[in-house]
Subunit: 419 residues, 2 copies
């Protein structure tokens, strides 16, 4: 038994809107444990929509439609489905009454075109729309095939799904088994290297483990199929523990954790504070740190030393070293880190200086070369050289710089507190 999602709307084919409805239904089906293997987008065109229905109805048992239920002439989903199965449309007095009332409530007069929304295939049940005028249907046009339709407006669709579709699907005996997933997050290791380390886990039947990569980080998603959340968690727990052990310090957090939230928790629990000195990230590291509510508990602020005069005057970077080694150097990164730590009187000082591009690179200092400086509780200062490569854009190099700085701090705080 499986389902299929069919999204109807020329605006999707023109790229005017993102198909967030498909994502919502996909998540919901996954949680209900109802498999679905295909999603199709098709325009407001009866011939092509019929072709899509024919293909989908031949391979699954539940068809879920979004879009094309509105009052305008290009909204054709309901009548096309009825036509495909050779069933006439009938006017539902119940829907007509509901639409009339909703217009009256808003002090508006119903236009004749809205009457169209009261037409449903003979034999179909109404899938009520509490927050809009276009209702959907629940219909079994032939044995073994169930159709659910929803309007394209996401907020209306979500409410109808939760209020009516989920209880209906469960009443049919579907969605008795759920799929429950957890994500493990890693920094400082590539997707292929991590996949090789945990290769034995990538073929597990239940829970399954799958790697994903994006924005510089790698995730492993553990998905368990079980009768309820508790049973799923029990399946996931030992695998999660083993994967974390294999990955060691490259594992930084799970699910909603971010590098900034994890660093924040570490500093909060050690009672330590942090300041930053930023050159090429221009405030991006502070921005990420302060995205976390409550970050004022451990983050005191910093200096955006974009111009070299700021590095010298506020952070105490030695002008001779700036001349000799350049602003993008380990020496300057270290002086920035200790400088901001002393200036703001924090436990840790973290600095970034680099070449984010697109211009400014040289043969010896190419775009993507970044130095991260760190000054710690005992005033010990270290630095890290990163080569993010010349093929990444400015924005991504800056993001990688800030995240790598956080990751270095994370590792240092963990190592220090575990000694």
């Amino acid at each position: 038994m499986s389902a299929e999602i069919i999204c109807v709307g020329t605006e999707l084919l023109l790229g005017d809107i993102l198909n967030s409805n498909a994502q919502f239904i996909a998540q919901q089906l996954a949680q209900l444990g109802i498999p679905h293997y295909y999603q199709t987008v098709v325009g407001d065109n009866p011939q092509r929509l019929k072709q899509v229905i024919e293909i989908a109805a031949s391979r699954v048992q539940i068809l879920i439609f979004t879009g094309g239920l509105g009052p305008t002439p290009d909204d054709l989903t309901g009548e096309t489905i009825a036509d495909f199965f050779g069933v006439p449309l009938v006017e539902s007095a119940e829907i007509l009454e509901d639409i009339t009332q909703k217009f009256a409530q808003r002090g508006r007069v119903m236009s004749p075109s809205n009457r169209k929304q009261a037409l449903i295939p003979q034999g179909a049940k109404i899938l009520p729309n509490p927050t809009g005028t276009a209702p959907g249907i629940i219909w079994q046009p032939r044995p073994g095939l169930t159709i659910l339709t929803f309007p394209g407006v996401p907020s209306e669709m979500h409410r109808m799904w939760t209020d009516t579709a989920v209880p209906f699907l469960k009443s049919q005996g579907w969605g008795q088994e759920i799929i429950y997933s957890r994500s493990l997050k890693f920094w400082g290791i590539g997707e292929s290297a991590l996949a090789e380390k945990v290769s034995a886990y990538l073929n597990l039947p239940n829970p399954t483990v799958a790697p994903y990569a994006g924005k510089g980080e790698v995730r492993l998603r553990i998905s368990a199929k079980a009768t309820d959340e508790k049973a799923a968690k029990e399946l996931i727990a030992p695998v999660k523990k083993q994967l974390k052990e294999i990955a060691g310090l490259d594992y930084y957090g799970a699910d909603d954790d971010t590098l900034a939230s994890v660093v924040g928790e570490l500093l909060r629990s050690s009672g330590e504070t942090l300041s930053v000195a930023e050159s090429c990230t221009g405030g991006g590291l502070g921005q990420i740190l302060t995205e976390i509510p409550g970050s004022s508990d451990y983050f005191w602020g910093g200096v955006i030393s974009y111009d070299n005069t700021v590095k010298v005057r506020l952070l105490g970077v030695n002008p001779d070293d700036l001349d000799q080694f350049g602003a993008v150097s380990a020496t300057v990164a270290e002086q920035m880190a200790i400088g901001v730590k002393n200036l703001l009187q924090t436990t840790w000082g973290l600095s970034i200086t680099g070449i984010a591009g697109p211009s400014g690179g040289t043969a010896t200092k190419p775009v993507g070369l970044v130095y991260i400086g760190m000054a710690g509780p005992g005033n010990e200062v270290t630095s890290y050289e990163c080569k993010f490569g010349t093929m990444k854009n400015r924005s991504f190099i800056r993001l990688l710089s800030a995240c790598t700085a956080l990751d270095n701090l994370r590792r240092s705080v963990i190592v220090r507190t575990s000694v």
Copy 2:
């Protein structure tokens, strides 16, 4: 002649990610005037992917695939396409060399699984991926059918589309009648207010004008259908001019302009410099300013004064005023602005202090209350009170704060230089 989009990835079926790739390609095809009538999403499953290819190849001439080109065992797009058309995979020395170099650049060792990415169907051309390791292909497996493949990572896909796919499609004689669009951007006016001001333009046949709103700004998109870009631009130019005149100072830029780039150009041409003092944005204003390449010409840096001690010690905010008016006040915003201007010796000083939430709000100072301070060339100091409302989330309030600060500076610089 039409195209079809096939997105491959179990993460799409699980609802883990939004299918932004389909939207991007849909927009691009619309701009090129290449019709497409179907989009399909399918998981990392060879049998089902083959079924999708069979259906699509029977009804269109261009198949565009995204996803499933990575190094892990579940990335199966390339080999499944080759298998469907009965063509063997061959290792491309050129790709292998490219991947090896990219790993070397980052100082990493290529794992054996990355070698898989060098396999392409015999006879296919390489669609180069300048910003990642997984290249795509351009392939004509049989007369009248062209296949293009892209990795699922959006940034890589966009670059490959623009650099190689668009020139290729045009070289084939596709995309001859174009839809050409320009966007006008506005800040400080709502979507409905702007739509009313320009209502006479919203029903034009060619070019069309349509309003869009998002992330605090409003855009008007002017789209012309024509045989070439020159003809389209001629249709757009007079409408663009009139819309700008109607909007006045609420219009800030077009197309790729951002508030930061516009402010940057204004400062660059007046030879003035800027520094920032940030509390609730924590570096976000500096981050946005330095996203612009070359911003070091006018942006010197700033102070992230997240903790009040930093406001007092570095920016010279009066501790008594902090006590009396609170950190979120017009007085403190003004002292921060003049403080950072003096500290960094710039022409302008721009400051932000506010309550980004979700907690920290009170009856008199609710979440969303933000003060923007500005110190100008003659040391005159002003401030602006913003009430972004309690319903917006922390991230959005911070973004609105930074953008509104830039917009206020933009208006001040324009007014001053036009006197």
